[in-house]
Point group: C3
Chain length 476, copies 3
């Protein structure tokens, strides 16, 4: 079959029918990503492919480094076309890597270019894509895949002006796109190892909240006040990235001590840091629960293991890795504590290490029934390194076997690139393929209505109902 | 293909021939389950489907909670038909979950009902199944799948009168079904965190053994005496459920201290609890070895993580999860110690976390040769959460690659429901499918006799030879 | 299809074309194995099949023990034909285990015998194979698969005379086979738990290096001097086997203390042992980096868990297992330290526990770009227990998804047997099957040149370029 043919990943007729008939036309609720609010609010036009593809994508940077490209042509001073050429030389070496499929899907879906990218085609593709980019503002990219909502990831100290600006357009009927911020207070605890960075951030938070932070109480108070701004801007979720939930009981005294030390420029001990982590997470969880928001927990990265690159390029340079921290005891204790007190919000658990797949799926099942709805606690989509065909298939299979696929809120991009919505297409094709295969082999009933309902929920309906973002009616 | 068609899960002609010709007609030795000895001895008739399906099945409870069913309709006071309706509404949401397949296999195999269960068919199925249940005592359910032996799971303090009652019938030629108890002394160490529960249990043990327990020695002595009762009742195995084997050397003094503290109503420290765990396990292992019994180790659950449900419903409510305790060091030390002293009994290792699959398969291989027979140490069947198609395929593949499929004692239900023997059918179909596929692709010789022998051993013959239960000759 | 038919493992026409047209004829660079330098230098003739197959192969010993063969017929005093008969009886019980496929591939490829080995054919195969063995010196076995290089595994204290002898023949144009030693200084730290063994080894090292070892400095100095001998003998790599990299900073004082204690016959504490491990590894890494050698890290075995067998048979008796030590923190710290100081050599990371597959693949990606070449840090081939179809497929898939298959240095035997090169054949078939399947399904472009280049690199070209062994020009 031709590369990326119309039935790509759809290995059976039922799958093809489900995808083209049901999944493909559905809108997208991309409830967690790292898109730029500014670029969306201003409907940014990217000057060239390097800008939109390579300027912030550490997936591609890793691919280029593995292929032996010099850092000057990755994050360094080479000019945009030189960087693009380096990428073009890398792409043929990425056969079987998701970057290879994504790259060509993006060229086809957004630009109608079905050439294979290589050093031989680099110039032709560069010219044609750049020509089109001049007429392709970011929101038209989103519209290509019927994106109804963009859930950005934002620091409590961030100014939400761009969200307000888009919201104003939305209310005025000038756009059907929603953009909701996500409350991500990680700096409050993750930066404790670097008191200078932590205090700089606290200063920004004080400005944003217009409150002095001189204690645990005032830190939590400032976060609470910042959170109200997020609510006004349409937020429906918080997000938290950490290596693991500390396996200890909350201890406000220790957490207060962490804050005092950090304010003085000292690094708190691990117990204090863990205590502050729990205070921030528990406070956020309760706010979430009170307002029907969703809490997202992204667990088990190990950050910045390559100190040379960290120094040269900064964080998010492509040298974070999977951790092998033990997850279940701390997480079960955390969820159990909230549940026991009646404060467990809707929660999505994401694991970065696939060895924890089944662990997470099963754990989610132990905390259902805290809310009245289906899938109160979710095991989230294959994430980051796992966001590829094999990772998605394993997650869908493990969720099906150990949990409930029909309640799944589905895919998200987690991406910095407005072209990355091809990943939703990949997810939908894979989902349809798996469901179709099961139906055709007699594992599940070959009842088109039942199957279409399952697919439709996991691609769009569940996310719409679960988060309550208030999608524009034009999306159905 | 139609849902659950005759060649369900059998993707190739060799598989179909192996299943229908060899595996399907074989009897079942269900050497580990949680069926009720009383119901089997009394040949219980279930009043309705809710009683036989929903009254004790935490797999289904988890499915219902995930679908948003209220607890009143799961473990609460709703009437039996209301609960059944709630289950019927849940089933279509379980597509791709093993509960969906099992439910419909059970309706077909036991009741000849091939409707899809949903709220629309709930009443019709309820009426028809209940009508049939009135003429379907539990032993006729077992006979449907040619069950030759039921291995129940019993506390040392349990009265074994029901086992004796059935045994009397067996000896009198009135039934060909055997029911053997399994000696499971978990309470002796697992309950140490709750001294009141521990002492209540010790009181029951004292009554059962007619011995006073006031020390480590007398505790082990009471267990030894209780075990003799199990031997009389036909037991051939012990069973142990714990998070992990403690990675320390046995220490009788610490264990004695654990007993003293617990008798006084205190919670022993972890080292003492670990020491008592090892004393109980080592003593049981030696008894097992001396009498040719089998020791089963079920490892890595984390129990009762949802304290709200534990308080409301009790243990086994569906809120146990997979643990991520490190397994190998403690387990290797334990097995190595027994082996070195010449006391290593036949042992079956079960892992709950599939990330440990290969670890367990390889470890089993390091302790073969302690006995004269093949497969002295077994890596057990996919268990609990892993008891589904994917879990079974992985276990069969990993065992094949890292150990010896031909020596495998095969499948068990581990179930509380007398209808759950469809799981043996699922296992047999999967096994035949995998063997058939390998033969048809040239991975193994396409020699029907060789293949049939392999399948026959792993489905029945090995379990018959390994445990030595004394199956009724009518089963062959 | 017939057992082991010509398109064995090749499920699609593209795969068949890639294998037979590209992969099959390529030479083999077996850069890591445990072949005997003496036997190769002397071009040894094996007296019988037991000698070449069973005398040192703990894979087969494990299979025989699992099948219930007595130790006398495995490692004991039974005569060679009795042992072979025991193996012949075992083979049919190994269906679906890689030993079954390897055994028959070896009989076919080396001896042209296509009988199935069993007790019935044992005598016929024994006679025919032994007849052929008399005319089949070890180098002719290697030539059967076009082996261009054998990378043996050697202790710093080993005499490298056999490597020199073969090298002399190579330089004189009498053979096109290269044999390079690999510098494996494990004893320096792994033997610290047994001071007598450690001091015996130190004595051997002193003799080999002609240096007195009385301190950390002189120990490292003796290793350095020994390493020079390896360089002269054509070595291009070091190799290190350990359970995990210690997660601590280097500490020369603690390491020096370890050496002092061990010299006095004492067992150093764990911190000291870890410190010495890091000193040895860091020193070797820097030497490797300076000379363009490759460092191989084989991680997470747990050795000799069966003490009975260790006492009876010695190390490497088949009772090592997979460990479940946490890997990533120590490893990331070690690689990060070397990288930061500019000393990170080409490195290959091998994990024994497949639960760590993705962890290792991702970690390798964080340290690319230290060198100018592609794949500076490699995630190594499926190793030891994982060296079978499923293990290889998972490794190839995980490497493709998370890293870069096109830069992969590919397969090695890690074997003690000169007949084990069928494993390269198995790897090549699997690789071609996977690449072909992706091309035929439209996942990657169906461009024969591109695919052949990918396969050719991963089977031969990358290893040739990466290690720089100086392969004989006749191999291309």
């Amino acid at each position: 079959m031709a590369f990326l043919h119309p039935d790509y990943l759809l290995s059976n007729p039922t799958a093809s029918r489900l995808y083209h008939g049901t999944a493909e036309p559905l809108p997208i609720i991309d409830y967690h990503n790292h898109l730029s609010p500014k670029e969306i609010a201003e409907n940014h036009i990217y000057p060239n492919l390097t800008e939109v593809w390579l300027s912030g994508d550490h997936y591609k940077w890793r691919g280029m480094r593995w292929a032996g490209v010099a850092e000057s042509h990755i994050t360094g001073n080479a000019d945009p076309f030189e960087k693009f050429q380096a990428w073009a030389r890398t792409v043929p070496k990425l056969l079987r890597n998701p970057l290879h499929a994504w790259t060509h899907m993006e060229l086809r879906r957004y630009f109608g270019i079905d050439l294979l990218l290589s050093e031989h085609t680099a110039k032709e593709i560069w010219d044609e894509a750049n020509r089109q980019l001049a007429q392709m503002p970011v929101r038209s990219m989103l519209a290509r895949y019927r994106v109804a909502l963009v859930g950005t990831t934002d620091d409590p100290a961030d100014n939400l002006q761009h969200h307000h600006a888009l919201d104003k357009e939305f209310r005025a009927g000038k756009t059907n796109l929603r953009m909701a911020p996500t409350f991500r207070p990680d700096m409050a605890h993750n930066a404790l190892g670097d008191p200078q960075a932590w205090n700089t951030w606290v200063g920004r938070l004080e400005d944003a909240a217009d409150l002095r932070v001189d204690s645990l109480e005032s830190l939590i108070g400032a976060l609470a006040k910042a959170r109200l701004e997020f609510a006004v801007a349409g937020a429906k979720a918080s997000d938290h990235g950490l290596s693991r939930l500390p396996d200890c009981e909350p201890d406000a005294k220790l957490a207060a001590s962490a804050v005092r030390k950090a304010l003085k420029g000292e690094v708190p001990i691990q117990h204090e840091r863990d205590a502050l982590t729990l205070e921030v997470l528990n406070a956020t969880a309760k706010w979430n629960h009170a307002e029907g928001w969703t809490m997202q927990l992204h667990l088990n990265p190990l950050r910045n293991v390559n100190r040379r690159l960290l120094a040269a390029v900064g964080a998010d340079a492509g040298c974070d890795v999977m951790g092998d921290e033990r997850q279940v005891n701390g997480l079960a204790r955390f969820l159990g504590g909230l549940d026991e007190e009646g404060h467990l919000p809707q929660t999505i658990l994401y694991n970065l290490n696939p060895a924890d797949n089944q662990l997470f799926a099963v754990l989610a099942g132990a905390f259902q029934g805290s809310g009245a709805n289906a899938g109160h606690v979710q095991w989230g989509s294959a994430w980051w390194f796992l966001d590829q065909e094999d990772g998605m298939r394993r997650q869908i299979d493990d969720l099906s076997n150990l949990g409930q696929l029909s309640a799944f809120v589905g895919m998200l991009t987690d991406s910095r690139s407005p072209l990355s919505f091809v990943r939703h297409e990949m997810f939908r094709r894979i989902l349809c393929d798996m469901v179709g295969k099961d139906a055709e082999s007699g594992r599940i009933p070959d009842d088109q209505e039942l199957l279409a309902d399952l697919v439709s929920r996991a691609c769009y309906g569940n996310a719409k109902d679960y988060f309550g973002f208030g999608i524009h009616p034009s999306f159905g």
